[in-house]
């Protein structure tokens, strides 16, 4: 149904343009196959990306199982009841804090590492060895978060984990890497970096490969050393890539993936491990507070878009291209 009306709409649209009916028919006769190809993807976007937006309104409404979304009664306080409720909820503030703190730590510690790694790989002069290093560094990216978390568990458990066994052998005290909130944050960030640094370096390696080789040769003739070449050629060459990725990361500062924190959580560290996505899961899908958690999700999306717009604008102020 939706598909048919969509196609009809498309036709109408074309006919509205300032050219004659015959031309439109001729155009369609020529290009209909392209619209046919686009039909399924567009239906997909409509159903799975845009129809859910209709349900956003339950953030402002009293959810009821039996009623149609459009007919549900508005929530109190001009519909903002659930936002107010969320902002009065201590757990929500903790989840918000944890989301931002974990993302910021990821950004501050994790963002530069792929850049260093890419530059270092670029300086590595053994091509065979370089390839092996790359392959191995990409490997953790292909492990699921469940597996990464279970590897972390095997390495860091207090009594039998490899790391703690080694610490104890060297005369130290075993460290509760995954069972004490502060240590957990540290471990979570480090393991996350372990999983992604190699993969994230690909894009920088690509940018470095795009730098004109003559620049390096000219610098060499001028007697530039390795550091000078990195500082004056490589880094400026990948600057726009760095900025784009930084904008994307800043836009995501309040967003949170679900797979990673959920796989790492355990009961002893929830005060620092509960982020917005897992909060929404436990309170929404498990706890059935649909209106409240939709409100939180909306808050998260809107703030994310705002952050993205701001950081893009700032980047453009500084003369960078930005992401659009």
């Amino acid at each position: 149904m939706a598909a048919a009306s969509k196609k009809k709409k498309k036709k109408e649209k074309i006919e509205k343009r300032p050219f004659s009916k015959e031309e439109a028919i001729r155009y369609l006769k020529r290009y209909w196959q392209l619209y046919l190809l686009l039909l399924l993807p567009m239906v997909y976007f409509l159903i799975f990306k845009y129809v859910p937006m209709v349900y956003i309104q339950i953030a402002f409404k009293k959810y009821s199982l039996v009623q149609n979304v459009w007919k549900m009664p508005w929530a109190d306080n001009h519909g903002f009841q659930y936002f107010i409720q969320a902002f009065h909820d201590r757990d929500f503030w903790f989840a918000l804090r944890n989301t931002v703190v974990l993302n910021l730590l990821d950004l501050i510690i994790g963002f530069p590492i792929p850049i260093f790694f890419a530059i270092m790989l670029n300086e590595l002069r053994l091509p065979r060895f370089k390839k092996v290093v790359q392959t191995i560094a990409y490997m953790p990216h292909f492990l699921s978060w469940v597996i990464v978390a279970s590897i972390a568990l095997q390495l860091f458990t207090p009594s039998t984990g490899l790391v703690n066994v080694l610490i104890q052998k060297m005369g130290g005290q075993s460290i509760p890497f995954l069972n004490d909130p502060k240590h957990w944050v540290f471990t979570y960030i480090l393991v996350g970096i372990w999983q992604s640094f190699g993969w994230n370096s690909i894009i920088y390696l690509a940018a470095i490969a795009g730098i004109n080789n003559e620049l390096y040769e000219a610098a060499e003739v001028d007697g530039a050393g390795r550091w000078a070449k990195i500082w004056h050629i490589t880094l400026p060459g990948i600057r726009s890539t760095i900025v784009v990725l930084l904008i994307m990361n800043l836009g995501n500062i309040i967003g949170s993936s679900f797979d990673r924190p959920f796989a790492f959580q355990n009961n002893t560290v929830m005060s620092w491990a509960n982020v917005l996505s897992t909060y929404v899961y436990t309170n929404g899908i498990k706890g059935l507070k649909f209106s409240l958690t939709t409100a939180i999700g909306l808050f998260q999306s809107v703030v994310g878009v705002i952050f993205l717009l701001i950081s893009n604008r700032v980047a453009r102020k500084f003369g960078e291209r930005g992401i659009w």
């Binding site: 997909y44 159903i47 349900y55 699921s144 469940v146 390495l155």
Partner: protein, 303 residues
């Protein structure tokens, strides 16, 4: 004459200076070795644990080489119908999902490379908005509920069947194929679908391989959709099963068989399941490395 001689000499010198290793080169090699070790050792430790006897595990004596070598954990995993079923079920989901995803991605990317396509701007906006604004977990859940996708294996395939990011990679690759090829075919009277199947797709094998890998890895490793939408354990993909086993949810296995109550053995069992889940991907991705590096490059440079 003399001039050219001098030139030859300087080039030789340059080449030589390139091959002379300085301290910093050794330092870089050293750091790279360290990094590879950090990446690999955790997995080797896991492999060793999965092959070790329980006594050694409890005492925490297993590092990188299995002690008290036994394949008991693997035999247990491989003889358990639940894991075998979840494995094949995930293989089915991955294959079907990947094929559907590739089909959808090509259908979406290809028409958008035609500048003459009317409404191209509208389509691009429709697609781009979904990249930056997501309705959220609960609205998606309610959608699944309203179209009957809860407890339905389709919810593991269809909602994730098209990724805008991957579509952009494919589109960028299509852009690189010279226009003259398709224009020649158009003059010969070939329809657009035919041009896609006879010119674009055969020339796009690298990007298809890459996206197949991305989609397949995404499906193989994903568990959150199953966690949210699927209650019946027969539809659980491998990762969700693994999650439940590792976190002792439902206490699968641990108490059902003789000797399973010791934590050491269940640890080696967990290690074995992790290896069993991981090995398929680790066997595939190195072969596709040159393709995915190239494709990420194309996507990065063009967009």
């Amino acid at each position: 004459m003399a001039d050219s001689k001098i030139k030859v000499k300087t080039i030789n010198e340059k080449v030589r200076s390139r091959h002379r290793f300085k301290l910093s080169d050794y330092l870089i090699i050293f750091v790279c070795i360290l990094i590879t070790l950090v990446c690999v050792l955790p997995l080797i430790n896991l492999l060793a644990k999965s092959l070790s006897g329980s006594d050694y595990l409890v005492k925490g004596e297993v590092y990188l080489i299995p002690k008290g070598f036994t394949t008991f954990a693997y035999k247990t995993v491989l003889s358990d119908k639940k894991y075998i079923w979840a494995f094949w079920w995930t293989v089915i989901l991955t294959v079907v999902g990947t094929l559907l995803s590739l089909f959808m991605t090509a259908c979406c990317a290809y028409p958008l490379i035609y500048p003459k396509l009317k409404g191209r701007g509208v389509f691009n906006i429709i697609i781009t908005i979904t990249m930056f604004f997501n309705a959220g977990t609960i609205p998606n859940y309610l959608l699944m509920k309203s179209i009957g996708f809860l407890d339905n294996p389709l919810s593991l395939i269809i909602p994730s069947c098209l990724s805008v990011f991957n579509m952009i990679i494919m589109r960028s690759f299509f852009y690189q194929i010279p226009d003259s090829l398709r224009e020649a075919a158009e003059i010969d009277g070939a329809g657009f679908i035919r041009i896609l199947t006879t010119i674009y797709l055969p020339l796009s094998k690298p990007v298809i391989a890459t996206l197949a890998l991305f989609y397949a890895v995404g499906r193989w490793n994903g568990y959150s959709d199953a966690l949210m939408y699927i209650k019946e354990s027969k539809y659980y993909p491998l990762q969700l099963l693994l999650y439940n086993v590792i976190n002792n949810i439902n206490n699968v296995e641990v108490s059902t068989q003789e000797g399973f109550s010791t934590p050491g053995l269940s640890n080696s069992l967990k290690a074995a399941i992790v290896m069993f889940t991981t090995i398929p991907i680790l066997c595939v991705y190195p072969w596709l490395q040159k393709y995915f590096i190239h494709s990420v490059m194309v996507g990065a440079v063009k967009e």
